[in-house]
């Protein structure tokens, strides 16, 4: 009996498929873009053995040799493309350490959903890999070497994993994207990744409607979206006080949203509690009354910008904030007309600002 159990354990344990880490091609980044004739191109970024060796002896990789190489494949599905790419690699393409997935903004909605579905079904792949969208050629993005000397995927991981390092925390994981895609009353958004000189540039968000990007926010709009999402960490906005320019920095907010039913529809309410640091005040202007006036000025400015942003998102029919999601959960019968309900909803933005510190004046 013991021999049988041991035999079954060994045969079914899966140990025959085990490959030690050095025999695997560790994929750190996957790039996906549409190819001709409705096909999909998939690129796998893998660190070179020189880069790995340099990591193990704590030295920076040689600038002469690239830190990564890219293996690509084309197919009707991501799986087919991956099979083709596998044929070009001596190691087993291992997806258990994928850090970044970059999707082309040109991916049609059908292919986009196919891609997300595939990513969700790959067993070893971590569902917390970061996802970004790029309007640039994906092969070019995957071959990009950041100036900081890190492996590209590690650069992006460092960028996305630090919540308070960036102006707006734009990290989106596969898990988040799937969740937003499937939740009624909520639109998916992804950070936009661009190849910018020696590094990547990530300061915009792309808003999706049913797997298709319909709106790419400007960096300023992205900051205001960040306030609604509680994701803006250290924005800096210019204002004027009695005609003189002043700057409020480290602005962050705690935002609560809810929906108020009205006759013939609903009203979307965003309640922002903003706080920040005033850099400095002109000489003689550092009074409590002036601070209060500035706080009101900041509140008005943010409220106006937020209102404009929400109105534009309503026009496009995208709701990355998920104003309606809890309301629809409680009123399931309104699901079919959710889009119309959102587009026609009234909007109210309340902003309460508090200056918690005044530079070197007080």
């Amino acid at each position: 009996m013991a021999v049988v159990l041991l035999g079954v354990f060994l045969l079914l344990g899966g140990c025959w498929d085990n490959r030690s880490i050095e025999h695997r091609a560790i994929v750190l980044m996957i790039g996906i873009e549409p190819a001709q004739d409705g096909l999909i191109s998939v690129y796998f970024q893998v660190p070179t053995s020189q880069a790995l060796s340099s990591l193990s002896v704590s030295s920076s990789p040689s600038s002469a040799s690239p830190a990564t190489y890219v293996v690509g494949g084309v197919g009707k599905t991501v799986a087919q493309a991956m099979t083709q790419a596998q044929a070009k690699s001596s190691g087993d393409l291992y997806l258990g350490q994928v850090q970044e997935i970059v999707l082309s903004s040109q991916l049609p909605a059908a292919q986009f959903e196919d891609v997300l579905d595939f990513l969700a079904r790959i067993g070893p792949m971590d569902k917390t890999s970061y996802v970004a969208v790029s309007p640039d050629p994906i092969q070019h993005i995957t071959q990009h070497q950041p100036q900081e000397g890190l492996l590209p995927a590690l650069y992006l991981t460092s960028f996305f994993s630090c919540r308070h390092c960036q102006e707006v925390y734009l990290a989106r994981t596969v898990w988040d994207a799937e969740q937003h895609l499937q939740t009624p009353g909520m639109s998916m958004w992804l950070p936009v990744l661009r190849d910018h000189e020696a590094n990547f540039r990530i300061d915009q968000a792309a808003l999706y409607r049913q797997g298709q990007p319909v709106m790419t926010l400007t960096p300023e709009q992205t900051v205001y979206l960040g306030y609604l999402l509680n994701a803006t960490a250290k924005a800096s906005l210019p204002f004027t006080l009695h005609g003189a320019p002043v700057s409020v920095r480290a602005l962050r907010s705690r935002t609560a949203t809810h929906v108020v039913p009205e006759a013939g529809g609903v009203r979307l309410v965003a309640d922002l509690k903003v706080q920040g640091i005033l850099d400095t005040l002109p000489p003689g202007e550092a009074t409590i009354a002036n601070l209060r006036a500035l706080e009101i000025e900041v509140s008005r400015g943010i409220a106006a910008q937020e209102l404009t942003l929400i109105r534009s998102m309503q026009r496009q029919g995208v709701d990355p904030v998920g104003f309606l999601a809890p309301y629809l959960w409680q009123h399931q019968s309104l699901m079919p007309q959710a889009n119309e309900l959102y587009r026609n909803a009234g909007v109210e933005v309340r902003v309460h600002t508090r200056i918690i510190e005044v530079g070197d004046v007080l």
């Binding site: 354990f9 030690s20 050095e22 060796s53 990591l55 193990s56 002896v57 258990g96 350490q97 070893p124």
Partner: protein, 553 residues
Amino acid sequence: MPRSRAANVPSAANSRTTHPSPRDVEGNASRLDERLNAYLADLVAQGDLGRVSGSVETAEGRIRSLLGSAPDLVLRRIRLGFAPGRPTLLVYIDGMTDPDMLGATIARLLDGGQESSLPGDFASALQAQLPLGEVEREDRWRQLFTQLLSGTTLLFVEGVPAAWMLDISKLPARGVGRPLSEPSIKGPQEAFNEVLVTNLAQIRHRIHDPRLEFETFRIGSYTRTTVALAHVQGLTNPDLVLAVQHRLEAIDRDYVQYASEISPYLHQHPRTMFPLIRSTERVDWIVRDLMNGKVAVLVDGDPFAFTLPVGMLDFFQTTQDYIFSAWEASLVRLVRLVGVFVGLYLMPLYIALFSVNPDLVPTKFVLTVAGARQHIPFPPVMEVAVMWIIIELLREAANRLPQPLATTLGTVGAVVVGTAIVKAGIVDPIMIVLVTLSAIGLYTIPAYEMGAAFRWMFWIMVIGASVVGVYGIILVSVGLVGYMSALETFGVPYLAPFAPLLPQELGDSVLRMPLPWLRRRPVTNHPLDRQKSRPPETPDPVNLRDLQGQGPS
């Protein structure tokens, strides 16, 4: 002159191939004749083959017939000073008798007045002439031979159907040394030695109480080794003492040299790889256990004694834990626990994470390891096997060498082999770090016997990890805990006080609370008196608070 047995008795190998010569047959027949004559003399005189007849001649013949070829046997005829007409025979084993005491004894026997001038019968008179010390009279040959071969001197006097056993033995022994296998920075530095009497005296020296009891057993049909069972009456549960007594009496062996030969007979799991008996050479450890309601077993000839019953925790504790402060002792115990986990899990985790489940490792670490393993020809499990075999070889070789050489071998072996094997590309540098940490971790276990069990567990863990990764480690761990929780000795669960959970015992487990808080003996030993210390019954004259309310208001 004692004859050499080798000269007369053909070896076992020769007896198979050659027939005994007529001369050998003649010699054997002669010895058989001598022995029969001696036996017949006892039988005629006493009517019992097993008792002394009272004839010195017969006694000498009987001893010679049995031990005559022993080169260290001394049979000496003397003339008693107070009874010169009675032939007297002194028998002892050379080298096991104190020569000064022997000289003094003989001098007293040769001296003395007339037999008729002494009061009482002859036996009492002789007893009065013997030196102070342990003197017993015995007429059974079996007992006499056992005592003689244990170092006792026998005195036969013509006409007395018994012999006197004079305890003037001085067994070859080293002095009381330091506990080399269980060193301690502070506290007593006293270890047992090979002489049981010395060991018992060392315990007695620390427990000045008549309730400390020793009971001796003779085990081994050839060696007749003395085994002592120690316990404190009124503390130790009598059921435990009775159970150990019965099991000691039931041991059927032809020889016993070591305490470890007895221990498997005392518990119900002789096949388990986990030690169920904690052996020690430290006197203070035995005394501590006795005071906690355990029994101790000491074997003559072995400086390692053991106590019963024990649980898993006993193997992770040292006497040093009770010498240092609670903070220090607790820290040391935590370090040992970490050491065990590192020793047991570090390398299996390495195998599991880098062979089976690399998705569980942080990316930077995976890349670093992958870089280090770029040109390694073997999978991690083979690397572990190679390195562990090297470690075990070095350890075993160091055990066989004198201390200075062992240290050199360890250092040179570790440095040279470690460096060379990495340069040769057989293992990666990370493996060297892991092997070193694992080895150090497992050697933090104070009890050597438990270290061996964990080394076996380590290999089972490695196999589990290499087959099914982290899941295998969890599977083996669950099995390990399940198995250990089923073990028990004398009713004490092996994993107590964690399984079953005994909150009142946790104060002296992974952490060690301050000693005044540990007021009770472990309940797992079922001691008769659980209270270690009692509150003072009379007010402390120094403590003014006790006196409050007693003075004039």
